[in-house]
């Protein structure tokens, strides 16, 4: 049962305890875990700055070996020329992808940003309204609606993708970006759930006093609940940005023309069009798609962890 705001208690409140393992071994394990989880990204970044021949050489070095001119001995890493050559290599790899002939990443980014902007706005606004109806109005049937909200999180997308496609086709939305953002304007199970839990913790005396003074539900929502729930709204918006930016299945099913490709589907097309051979460039493209999410995570990583913790406290 969730009865308190899900702030993780800081670890310093734990008493120091004997461990089953000696500290040095624990540090070794910690480093191993860190490396294991970072490795795929680090290796992608490393491949993305290598010339193609180096990427395919099977060498396990993080930095490429570079020569000043073909046939010469490799430059030493202490030589400033090495770093100049590396910068040129990085620039050439990244521009090759950004200005690629087979994929228009400028367009995909624009499409993804548009979809993300519209779905973040819609999801945040509607989920806030619905959550108010579930958390702050006492009415018969709210329990049933809440059960539906939680239930929607369990429905596999594959069950509804075919009929949803038929629905969107009959609405004339296939051939536009609408299927990717319009549904967000009706709220989403997880966002509503998260905001409802947050609203439940706001003292009821606040809005009951306002209600007695003749304030309407809309007034209570605007002047009491919204200002107090900005952090929770930010979590919902950030999560929705990531969900929308990362969505692959939606565009796969509902988008059928390259002019509407989002980054995920554009990246997959780019990778398969190449047959995967210039792995260095494929890694560049993959990293470019990751970058916005990394930025958001760097800026707001606490908010994400809080959202994930909340997810677990619902039993």
């Amino acid at each position: 049962m969730l009865s308190q705001a899900p702030h993780l208690r800081p670890p310093s409140s734990l008493p120091a305890r004997r461990s089953a393992l000696p500290r040095p071994l624990l540090y070794l394990l910690l480093i191993a875990v860190g490396i294991a989880f970072a490795l795929p990204l680090v290796w992608m970044a490393s491949t993305s700055i290598k010339p193609e021949s180096q990427a395919l050489s099977g060498s396990v070095g993080l930095l490429p070996r570079l020569t000043a001119a073909a046939g010469q001995a490799p430059l030493s890493r202490t030589d400033p020329d090495y770093w100049r050559a590396l910068a040129a290599q990085v620039r050439s790899n990244y521009t090759a992808v950004i200005d690629s002939d087979i994929a228009d990443f400028h367009l995909y980014v624009r499409n993804s940003l548009l979809v993300a902007l519209l779905s973040v706005t819609g999801m945040t606004v509607s989920s806030a309204i619905v959550a108010y109806g579930l958390a702050r109005i006492r009415w018969r049937g709210s329990g049933l609606v809440f059960a539906l909200v939680v239930g929607t999180m369990m429905i596999p997308f594959t069950v509804i993708m075919a009929p949803q496609f038929l629905l969107f086709r009959s609405l004339g939305w296939i051939g536009s970006l609408a299927p990717l953002w319009v549904p967000a304007w009706f709220g989403g199970g997880f966002s509503i759930f998260l905001l409802r839990q947050f609203y439940m913790n706001i003292p009821r005396e606040l809005d009951e006093a306002a209600r007695l003074d003749g304030c309407s539900h809309a007034g209570v929502f605007r002047h009491i609940i919204l200002p107090l729930s900005l952090p929770a709204l930010a979590v919902v918006a950030l999560l929705q940005f990531v969900v929308s930016w990362n969505d692959f299945t939606g565009p796969l099913v509902f988008i059928n023309h390259p002019s509407q490709y989002t980054v995920s589907i554009g990246l997959q097309m780019y990778q398969t069009a190449h047959g995967g051979t210039p792995w260095n460039l494929v890694m560049v493209a993959s990293l470019l798609v990751i970058t916005p999410v990394l930025l958001v995570f760097a800026l707001a990583h606490r908010a994400f962890v809080r959202g994930a913790a909340l997810d677990g406290l619902k039993e």
């Binding site: 120091a16 860190g34 795929p40 290796w43 509607s126 579930l134 509503i192 589907i265």
Partner: protein, 292 residues
């Protein structure tokens, strides 16, 4: 109008965005899918009613059974492997070691990475000739397998990758670990309980609700897996990684068999619900009930 009735009206009004969206984008498609599952529908011509034919065809479709088997293996392996990894990592991160905060962020990060990028990155690690894994094995003088290209290792490779995406389970475990009352540990120390006994007799029972929740979520997630095998193996080699969702997708959109795809979809929905409920009931028996 009575206040109770007025409240019902307000409640319906405030929740109407969800209710309308639910009816239009979920309930209607679900009902339509149920109807279509009793028809032959190729998208080009109107549906023709065929009764239970699609459900009967499922029973005699070897590829359907193979996809069910693959999905079950994947979900079970991911749940067990993922639970083990996430508990161990969560406990390690709670040992008050310097640098834990950084490692915690690194563990959580993969859950946010776009699935296409993550899958492509792992395809590159698994690459038979030039991939990092086989390069490292090669240094040790071992000839690495063709991870994704060999029917014997493809599923294993996907399960290994899934353990990299346990970040949210680790967060949930962490919250549970921090919720264990310190008094219990103090009592255990007074009793002279060793670290392993303490873990078994206090930590595990106290975090068992979180573990049960994680396990159920992990099973649901595993049963619905779609994008990762679609991108990394396309179900191959030799359908060794064709999972149910992928089979539904290709029935609907590659072969235009909407009726059959809908029947498969309903099978998946019911199977997910039954298995999630069953897992919950079974796990509940092992969950330590917290006193008031």
């Amino acid at each position: 109008m009575t206040p109770a009735r007025r409240n019902i009206l307000s409640g319906l009004l405030w929740t109407s965005p969800f209710l309308i969206g639910f009816a239009v984008f979920l309930l209607a498609p679900l009902c339509m899918s149920l109807y279509v599952s009793f028809t032959n529908y190729s998208l080009l011509e109107p549906p023709v009613s065929v009764g239970l034919d699609n459900y009967e065809a499922m029973a005699h479709d070897p590829l359907f059974w193979k996809s069910v088997r693959n999905t079950a293996i994947y979900a079970a392996a991911c749940a067990m492997f993922g639970m083990t990894v996430s508990v161990l990592v969560a406990v390690l991160l709670e040992q008050r070691l310097r640098g834990s905060a950084l490692v915690r962020a690194l563990v959580f990060l993969p859950t946010l990475i776009p699935v296409v990028s993550a899958s492509i990155g792992w395809m590159w690690l698994y690459n038979a000739q030039h991939g990092l894994f086989n390069a490292v094995l090669g240094l040790a003088g071992i000839r690495g397998p063709d991870w994704l290209g060999d029917a014997r290792t493809a599923m294993l490779s996907l399960v290994l990758m899934s353990a990299w995406m346990v970040g949210s389970y680790v967060v949930i475990c962490t919250a549970a670990l921090r919720g264990v009352p310190a008094a219990l540990y103090e009592a255990a120390d007074l009793d002279g309980m060793g670290p392993l006994a303490r873990f078994r007799n206090i930590t595990l029972p106290m975090i068992s609700p979180a573990l049960a929740f994680n396990a159920v979520m992990s099973i649901i997630w595993g049963l619905q897996v779609f994008a990762v095998p679609l991108i990394m193996t396309r179900g191959g080699p030799d359908n060794a990684t064709t999972v149910l969702s992928m089979y539904i997708y290709s029935a609907a959109f590659s072969y235009g068999r909407m009726g059959y795809a809908s029947a498969l979809g309903w099978f998946q929905l019911l199977a997910t619900m039954v298995l999630a409920a069953a897992a919950w009931l079974v796990l509940k028996r092992f969950v330590h009930e917290r006193g008031a």
